[in-house]
Symmetry: C2
Subunit: 229 residues, 2 copies
DNA sequence: AATTATTAATGTAGATTTTACACTTAAAGT
DNA sequence: ACTTTAAGTGTAAAATCTACATTAATAATT
């Protein structure tokens, strides 16, 4: 019988999380040093096994929480990896998820509780299993996402300057953008509130701070647009 | 211990295949009438369980072959579905795949061997489990794909008219396209060979037949473009 | 043989969008 | 008051996109 449930093989199903962060040094990913075998001591994505009574989205949230203490992070499913020997211990299929978080808001907790560490995407260490591939895949997805949905709310501090937003986009797309063109394209999305307040850290003149207009931002999350940067 | 392999739950991992076809009536999907419980007799995607020694891509190919006799169909992974009760018999996570095939080349075999049937995407029957959702998801993906990669090679006969190609795009995007603008945009991709031969079925005047330029087509498959139709 | 009917094939002007590019301004520091 | 630094701002040319109508080729009909 082709489709008998009882004769079908069962497998371990893992979830691995790619967490992107951003600070003024650029785009970062969060990695942990494995504290168990195999590959103990090597750098790795945060991963764990799906539980019997759990959906994948929840597993991703739980696993992220386990390793970082982070709560309520919206993660997006990326891809299922199934090479036979991708995990040397036992046949394991892994579904990857990615999320964007703000480094500064969470740094303290991270460092305190776990051997987790932020790395620049550009010079991250070699990772276990197929995790390097997952990261590359996630970056591609993030780039694509940037062209159809707003980005930044999750990655930037609540108040941010236009330069910070520009540099975020430059980091994700890994190319230079024209400042004036960028500003007018971003403004045309109408997702920003310009505050009266200025940030005086970065220059003598100071630069205006912005916040995201949450309603407009979320509307744009639902209704994709096309943004050619 | 957080990550012990031995204590982790194992699950059934299924693969479901969304097969798109195209003929002069529009975009179609291929469905089977389940010949086993649960939901025996209802319409369903072609699905099966991943084997222990098999990667997902191969499982998709095997399952498609099992239900249609089709070989060597390139399928693309779509998404992993994991709602707890999505399959009423047993906890099953399903990874969906989609593919594009040419209806005419394969019809005979299909009908002969299985209770498989083509349905217009527009008026397909209600499907079991979460298969409706999978189909909707696949259509969205197909639309997106159409805007960044060439399409048609897998769906159209070897020789086809510009009108057939136009109607394929219209079916996928479910909107009318301006014929002249379409032609010039497609031509700018430089993936077509115009033959000296004409198809005389469709009109008195006859319309030129085209083939895809395989090299150019495959190059464009690798290097995405932007196609605004 | 001439006429009719049908779909194929083709080009352009105006609107919109994108791109490239440089000077002035505000404020702090000296 | 002078210097320094990054912020802020507009436009003209180029490229792309859109809307749109006539002629051409052939088979079928008379």
């Amino acid at each position: 019988m082709l489709n008998s449930y009882s004769s079908a093989d069962k497998v371990l199903l893992a979830v691995d999380c790619i967490i992107f962060g951003f600070d003024n040094e650029g785009l970062k990913i969060l990695l942990i040093k494995r504290d168990f075998e195999p590959e103990k001591g090597k750098w790795s994505l945060m991963g764990g096994f799906l539980k019997r009574d759990e959906v994948l989205d929840d597993a991703a949230i739980r696993i992220l929480n386990t390793y970082t203490g982070l709560n309520d992070i919206y993660m997006e499913q990326l891809y299922a990896y199934s090479e036979i020997d991708r995990d040397p211990v036992e046949r394991t299929i892994s579904v990857s998820y990615y999320a964007l978080i703000n480094i500064e808001n969470h740094n303290a907790e991270l460092i305190k509780n776990y051997h987790a560490q932020w790395f620049s995407v550009a010079d991250a260490p070699n990772l276990i299993f197929d995790h390097n591939e997952m990261v590359q895949h996630a970056i591609r997805r993030l780039r694509y996402r940037t062209s159809i949905k707003p980005i930044g709310f999750e990655l930037l501090p609540e108040k941010f300057t236009m330069r910070q937003l520009l540099e975020l986009y430059e980091a994700i797309l890994s190319k230079e953008l024209d400042k004036r063109n960028f500003i007018s394209k971003i403004n045309s999305l109408e997702i920003l509130n310009k505050l009266d307040e200025k940030d005086m850290q970065s220059s003598r003149k100071g630069s205006y701070l912005y916040t995201f207009n949450k309603e407009k931002y979320e509307e744009k999350l639902l209704n994709d647009f096309v943004l050619n940067l």
